[in-house]
């Protein structure tokens, strides 16, 4: 367990001007853990752009909020539950969903969409199969019962996640501007009310566990993982939203990491007040809990409310209607102290602001090149059968259909899902306004392993391209930075470069960061994961039938907006082709021209919104050939003729950004828009029934029945899971 360092302990003593009690020590340990205090990353997170014309609430609150027009706003955020999901996949993932949902509705927003970014070790290892199955059913269990659609996400397999899977959950909610609530304990004398589930011994020190590396003993930490109850959370949601309407609530915050400790001191700190509570009043699930245990418990489905004095009954009435506990456990004071009593005896007395905001900030050494798991030189290779290569790619874990996963998620509940799992970007309509929100999650650790800075910029570009391909204007972002041990300079350097890349790209694409999460110490037995920033970007568009990926009709012109792109040996080393076919990694990620990328995005948005594209799909992992195959999965393929002198492997499989495939009945109009944006628009071919054929200078590179592509792609994940290797 990561305890306070001697330096941190001295700081505690100087704040308290005495020795801390056991309970106080526990409180400082969790609040100053990496997970709660961001002490290694805070210095660098300041570099991120956080303001924009639509940003109503930026980082620092439970979730970021942006204006979507017509008096409405959305709250969204991403959070990780990596460590718990390794120790207990089902509950770890389930409570990950529960935690981020509370972050959304504690602000007053009704959650309307969830997405998840998952990373696992290869499925050839039986344990990874079990982790995948556990995580997916945990997400399904929680989200389905709660009644929020899981509308998309991504799932990637790499060796580096073998002992350290990643579960990042994104959630988004909607409300009116005047329905926003903050986690502030304002108004001296106001009652502090505890609502929701009773407190038990589960999850004690979860936040500290999430701030430590994994060792051989980690599996013994199962009791640190919380247990979720999505039914209770659903009741809590309805009760909270209903109670907010009474006007009696001053401030509200969920009890997530570090439970009662975090919610009390953060609410006090934000309001510049003190909070005094008596733990004897806290509803408890088991007898004999110590103040230390009650303060540090991470029992799920609990919230802390500060209400207007004298109006407690209005709040109680709503919670009792929903069958939930609601009791006054203390009050807001004017002295700025967090005072924790147990049966009237003071167990802890700490200044709120120092506890919540004065955690030590570390400038961890990073004056070395970021660690790279690969060299620069390309191996020699030459494909013998490009069609076989394509099939191999389509059957690979990263590129195959994830239907096996998302069919277990209710992606339609609330009847807002206009584009769901499998689309470039998920689209959820806002019934009240006539506008829709598009969202995309992306992360590519291969690129980031080769260059954290360039890789992260590519991730932002791809997210924005996904949204633009759906016709949406990207407006704001959230991020989850999953990295290894920051106390190693070569890992810290990865984090710093990635944050700087994120800052640069988010500034350029005008998508300010409104919040997020940092997960460090993703290291097992001395081995760090590859740098894995996951970026979630939301965009806005008018509510309309979506333009989807599959080709719709025969005889349409297939166009490649953005052109063939460029590639060389060095820039090919991070591709899926290098991974799956050559089983190698080298060189640098694809080159990104942000200016050109932005123009391609503007062009595709205009084309899609003008109704000129019958289908549209962005070119990304696996390159052009994989993208064309994906466009063909509903039965209509294409004959495509590519000019240019790139070698065939590059032509088909390089992952240069800034490209979108579309099919259209009006190519000249598409060309006109592309020209206006200074973007190439190649007439690459024609859609046709049942066959995908790709040629280059009278040479046939790919020739395959669409049916075969589809069978391979659609069944690959299920087939892999059907092979049970005994461990």
């Amino acid at each position: 367990m990561s305890a306070l360092t001697p330096f941190e302990l001295d700081k505690v003593r100087s704040i308290l001007k005495r020795e801390p009690t056991e309970t106080e020590l526990g409180i400082f340990t969790v609040m100053w853990s990496e997970h709660c205090s961001y002490k290694s990353s805070r210095l660098h997170l300041k570099k991120l752009p956080t303001r924009g014309p639509r940003v109503l609430v930026g980082p620092g609150e439970n979730a970021g909020i942006i204006d979507i027009g017509d008096g409405y706003a959305i709250a969204f955020k991403i959070e990780s539950h990596n460590h718990p999901s390794f120790i207990e996949p089902f509950q770890g993932a389930a409570t990950g969903v529960g935690g981020i949902l509370r972050d959304i509705f504690t602000m007053g927003a009704r959650p309307i969409a969830v997405m998840d970014a998952l990373r696992f070790g290869p499925l050839e290892v039986p344990r990874n199969q079990r982790i995948l199955e556990g995580v997916v059913s945990g997400i399904a269990h929680y989200g389905n019962c709660f009644g929020v659609p899981t509308v998309g996400g991504e799932c990637v397999f790499e060796n580096c996640y073998n002992g350290n899977p990643l579960v990042n959950v994104f959630a988004l909610g909607v409300f009116k501007h005047d329905e926003i609530f903050y986690g502030r304990a304002a108004g001296v004398g106001n009652p502090v009310i505890y609502v929701g589930a009773k407190t038990g011994r589960d999850g004690i020190h979860g936040a500290s566990m999430a701030s430590a590396v994994f060792t051989a003993e980690s599996k013994q930490k199962r009791p640190n993982v919380q247990v979720g109850d999505p039914f209770l959370e659903k009741l809590l949601l309805e009760a909270c939203l209903e109670a907010m309407k009474t006007g009696a609530i001053v401030g509200i915050q969920d009890m997530g990491a570090a439970g009662l400790t975090c919610s009390t001191c953060e609410m006090g700190s934000r309001a510049g007040t003190g909070v005094e509570i008596d733990l004897a009043l806290v509803p408890q699930r088991e007898a004999g809990m110590t103040p230390y245990e009650i303060m540090l418990s991470e029992s799920q489905e609990r919230m802390l409310i500060v209400a207007e004095k004298g109006r407690e009954e209005e709040v109680f009435r709503v919670f009792h209607k929903w069958g939930l506990d609601a009791v006054t456990i203390g009050r807001v004071t004017g002295d700025g102290m967090l005072r924790v009593k147990n049966h009237g005896v003071v167990a802890a007395e700490i200044p709120n602001r120092e506890l919540a905001d004065e955690a030590p900030v570390y400038d961890r050494p990073h004056n070395v090149p970021p660690y790279r798991p690969a060299g620069m030189d390309a191996p020699r290779f030459s494909s013998r059968d490009l069609t076989a290569d394509l099939l191999k790619l389509l059957a690979s874990g990263d590129l195959c259909s994830k239907q096996w996963i998302w069919r277990q998620y209710d992606y339609m509940v609330r009847t807002n899902t206009i584009a769901g799992p499998g689309a470039d970007a998920a689209i959820v309509r806002i019934k009240e306004t006539g506008s829709s929100v598009a969202m995309s999650l992306d992360g590519n650790a291969r690129y980031c392993a080769l260059s954290p800075r360039e890789g992260t910029k590519l991730i932002v570009a791809e997210c924005c391209r996904n949204l633009s391909t759906a016709g949406a204007m990207p407006v704001a972002a959230t991020n989850n930075l999953n990295f290894g041990n920051p106390e190693r300079p070569e890992i810290m350097a990865q984090l710093v470069e990635s944050i700087e890349g994120l800052a640069e790209a988010c500034k350029f694409f005008e998508t300010p960061i409104t919040g997020g999460n940092v997960s460090l110490y993703n290291e097992t037995l001395g081995e760090s994961i590859w740098p894995t920033p996951v970026v979630g970007i939301v965009g806005l568009l008018k509510t309309a039938p979506p333009v989807t990926i599959p080709f719709k009709r025969e005889g349409r012109t297939v166009m490649l907006l953005g052109g063939l792109g460029s590639c060389d040996e060095t820039r090919f080393g991070g591709t899926q082709y290098a991974k799956v076919v050559l089983e190698n990694l080298w060189g640098l990620p694809p080159a990104l021209d942000m200016d050109y990328e932005k123009r391609v995005q503007a062009a595709i948005r205009e084309i899609v919104n003008a109704g000129l594209a019958e289908s549209a799909h962005d070119v990304s992992d696996g390159g052009l050939a994989v993208a064309l195959a994906e466009c063909s999965m509903r039965g209509i393929g294409a004959t495509v003729e590519l000019a240019g002198d790139l070698r065939p492997e590059f032509l088909l499989f390089h992952e240069g950004p800034s490209r979108v495939i579309l099919s259209t009945a009006v190519p000249a109009e598409v060309e006109r828009i592309a020209r206006a944006h200074g973007v190439e628009a190649l007439r690459a071919g024609v859609t046709m029934k049942e066959i995908l054929r790709i040629g280059n200078d009278s040479l046939t590179l790919i020739d395959c029945a669409v049916q075969q592509l589809r069978e391979v792609w659609e069944n690959a994940l299920e087939n892999q899971l059907a092979v049970r290797v005994e461990s």
Binding site: C145, G147, R407, Q408, Y409, M412, R414, T415, K431
Partner: protein, 222 residues
Amino acid sequence: MRFGVVVFPGSNCDHDAWYAITRNLGQQAEMIWHDSPTLGDADAVILPGGFSYGDYLRCGAIAKFSPVMTAVRRFAEQGGLVLGICNGFQILVESGLLPGALLRNRDLKFVCREVTVRVETANTPFTLAAAPGQTLRLPVAHGEGCYFADERTLDRLEREDCVVLRYLDNPNGSLRDIAGICNERRNVMGLMPHPERAADELMGSTDGRVILESMVHSLVAP
């Protein structure tokens, strides 16, 4: 006409049903809280999808003891139209208003997808606007949707024309591909697919409307 949509703690398709009825069909609907002893002035009642009472013990097993279910049972006995969708279907079988049981899906996994069902009979208030044999594309989303009953009950359902919808691509292992049934009196129907999710052009299918519209027709012009 006026629909009543029952809200149990844990219902989560209640709003979807309300939206489909009011916004897509232009009818009236009101929510009925689970501890209500009456159904107000509802002309027809919908038990929506979700996880009533967390679906603890068994799906629908706790909901059947809800005060509102006494009113629903009385309403059904008086010939009122009751439609149970997904969790609502589970509650109807647990309550004994419909025969059989809904077991865990054959592959033990929650399944969310679009399925094709065939309308087996137009001789119900829930399908009178459909043509017998007509196929509908409807979404399903459930973990316990495998319809089960003994052979005699199944034979009786068939004989009495009470199998209303049948899967063409059975997603859960339901016996005889049963997706929806009605009672002998034909005023209570339960189905696993979600017609309310297929009532809006933007959701990709409007095939579900025929079920809701049939209910309207049968009440407006009996």
